[in-house]
Amino acid sequence: MSQLDRLRGVFRASLSLPADTDVDGLHYRAIPQWDSLAHMALVAAMEDEFAIMIDTDEMIDMSSFAKAAELLEKHGADAVT
């Protein structure tokens, strides 16, 4: 599975979204499931999945799925494809 697919999986699991939800265009607080508590759980799940640690400032700036993918790349979690 590609990194991006794994990230999609993390988003769906953390935000309790159905398996077929398209998360690529998702933005923070755009859906009720992605609130501030879920945001922290989502970040923790990303950290576990990709064995990285995300800073407080990075966590606050992670305002969309696209930003999350950028963050993974920045942390060197292999090429996000």
Binding site: A44, E47, I54, T56, D57
Partner: protein, 250 residues
């Protein structure tokens, strides 16, 4: 991700190269913790960690960085994450002191005290929360001061920074309690460490006279209280401030 060692609790003690933090590190290393020793300088921290390990026969590790610098604090926590994957105990102790009458303290000194004591504690707790969530029965102790509760002439700025630590403790206890993370504070009185080296003989005698238990405190006195608050014996205690001051606060 490292495999957590099931038998040892992972504890980070900030400002543990000497003084109160060092005594806390020794106490925790003796009671089954793997202690991450911390100070500003890498070599000093590594030396202290080696000494704590030799003295206790326990396991230690090291991180370093100025707690006033949020980027340095993030880097420290990333190291803890990389090596240990979690925190079971956190002691936010790193701090500095300066005394001066109001109107006499240079603004640089005011800023530095707030940056190290108040902002440093805040950066540390913020950056550690995710590691604590991965811990077992995680607990935090913040080191405030009797000055943060009571104040004294010449101590206004220091007192304000330590009162900030108490506000942080109380709010964090409420916020993190539902996640199983306990947060308490100790408020030491006059403790014999390098920080007290400016106290002359007269001031020392006056302080002892004002202390119902009739002596200055030791770093070990504070370490005992912190170790209790971190232990399973304190499992229903959160949001509390324990004075370790010989009754000075009364």
């Amino acid at each position: 991700m490292p495999t957590p060692s099931p038998d040892r609790r992972v504890a980070l003690v900030t400002g543990s190269t000497l003084g109160i933090g060092r005594a806390v590190a020794v106490r925790l290393a003796r009671t089954g913790h793997e202690v991450v020793v911390h100070g500003r300088d890498r070599e000093r921290a590594a030396k202290a960690a080696a000494e704590v390990a030799a003295e206790t026969g326990g396991h230690t590790d090291t991180v370093h960085g100025d707690v006033a610098d949020p980027a340095a604090v993030s880097a420290m926590m990333r190291e803890v994450h990389r090596r240990h994957g979690r925190l079971d105990a956190l002691v936010i102790n790193a701090g500095g002191h300066a005394a001066s009458l109001l109107g006499m303290m240079h603004s640089d000194v005011v800023s530095r005290l707030f940056h190290v004591n108040a902002l440093g504690a805040t950066h540390t707790l913020q950056a550690a929360v995710k590691l604590l969530r991965r811990g077992t029965d995680p607990a935090v102790v913040l080191v405030s001061s009797v000055m943060g509760r009571k104040g004294a002439p010449g101590q206004a700025v220091y007192s304000a920074t330590k009162a900030a630590v108490l506000g942080l403790t109380l709010a964090a206890a409420k916020e993190l309690g539902p996640q199983g993370i306990r947060v308490n504070a100790v408020a030491p009185g006059y403790i014999q460490t390098d920080m007290l080296s400016t106290l002359d003989d007269r001031a020392r005698a006056e302080t002892i006279a004002a202390t119902p238990l009739g002596r200055l405190g030791t770093a070990g006195d504070v370490a005992a209280a912190a170790a209790f608050l971190l232990s399973a014996d304190a499992c229903f205690i959160t949001g509390q401030v324990i004075g370790v001051d010989g009754g000075l606060v009364l």
